[in-house]
Symmetry: C2
Subunit: 152 residues, 2 copies
DNA sequence: TTTCGTGCAAAAGTTTTGCAGTCTA
DNA sequence: TAGACTGCAAAACTTTTGCACGAAA
């Protein structure tokens, strides 16, 4: 779901997809296109298994491996993104105080920080009818100094 | 890691832990205490496997199952939290535009929304030396109307 | 003593990989 | 046709569960 609703046409998405495949040297295969289209039209942030089950009727020979591989490929190209996960293993922290996260996309180090101004900031009014919001957190992603240097 | 640094003493954490166990009817076992202490003193958001490996020297008979079970129990009590994960399966989305996420902790529905005011807001200055921040995202958690009603 | 927790082992669930045949460019 | 992609099968990795013994209250 999305507030406000999408404005772009599906055909625009396909063009972006084909363009991105070409410039990355990726072949435009039937399976790849269908996985992409299924995700582009979905508004519920589906998992690999869900995409697989939705496509199974249309593409009975499709395998789950291909879905995993395709999602991983498209993510590397920046065409799609994984929601809210850092790595395969779950990571924990002791809940002492409310705080925010800054994550290095290369070494996956997580920095906690405070941001009072954000905590005090009012939420967008479209969200007022959604339900009860319990937590409000900022997640920043980037490349830390150590990793920038390593990469030259 | 954390900006700014922690202020509380480890002994305070232990008291909170013991209090929470008592009021939840959980026994204060050796393993449970050690897993908790290990996480409370860690500043790197470790996974279950990492906590296990750190404790193995001190508690050679500890099993990984116990670490998983303990983390899960403590999370249910609200003493600790999982970082950045929604569910066990990764979930994807098509990257059309920058946006933020509102997640129902019960049904796991994810709502995308725009928040221009947040996007324009300056970052805390402590972060200016960290490296290169590429993305800045708000993640809200709560209970949606549908789920509030279901639960009464 | 009673109940809960742990360790062991096995299973379940998620994702990745090697390989040989197939398809795209 | 060459190289990339797919499907199959198997493996790897992460997490959960049943059970019997051991430990906490």
């Amino acid at each position: 779901m999305r507030y406000p609703n999408h404005t772009k046409e599906p055909s625009d998405h396909l063009q972006v997809f084909e363009q991105a495949c070409k410039s990355a040297g990726l072949k435009i295969t039937h399976q790849r296109t269908e996985v992409f289209k299924e995700l582009a039209k979905a508004d519920d942030h589906p998992s690999a298994e869900i995409i697989y089950s939705r496509l199974k009727k249309k593409l009975p020979t499709l395998s789950i491996d291909t879905v995993y591989r395709t999602l991983s490929t498209l993510e590397k190209q920046g065409l799609i993104s994984k929601v809210q996960t850092v790595e395969s293993q779950a990571r924990y922290e002791f809940n002492n105080e409310h705080h925010h996260h800054l994550i290095c996309d290369n070494c996956h180090e997580i920095i906690d920080f405070d941001w009072q101004a954000f905590d005090d900031y009012p939420l967008p009014k479209e969200l007022s009818n959604w339900g009860h919001i319990k937590e409000k957190k900022a997640i920043l992603h980037g490349l830390c100094h150590k990793c920038s240097e390593k990469k030259g």
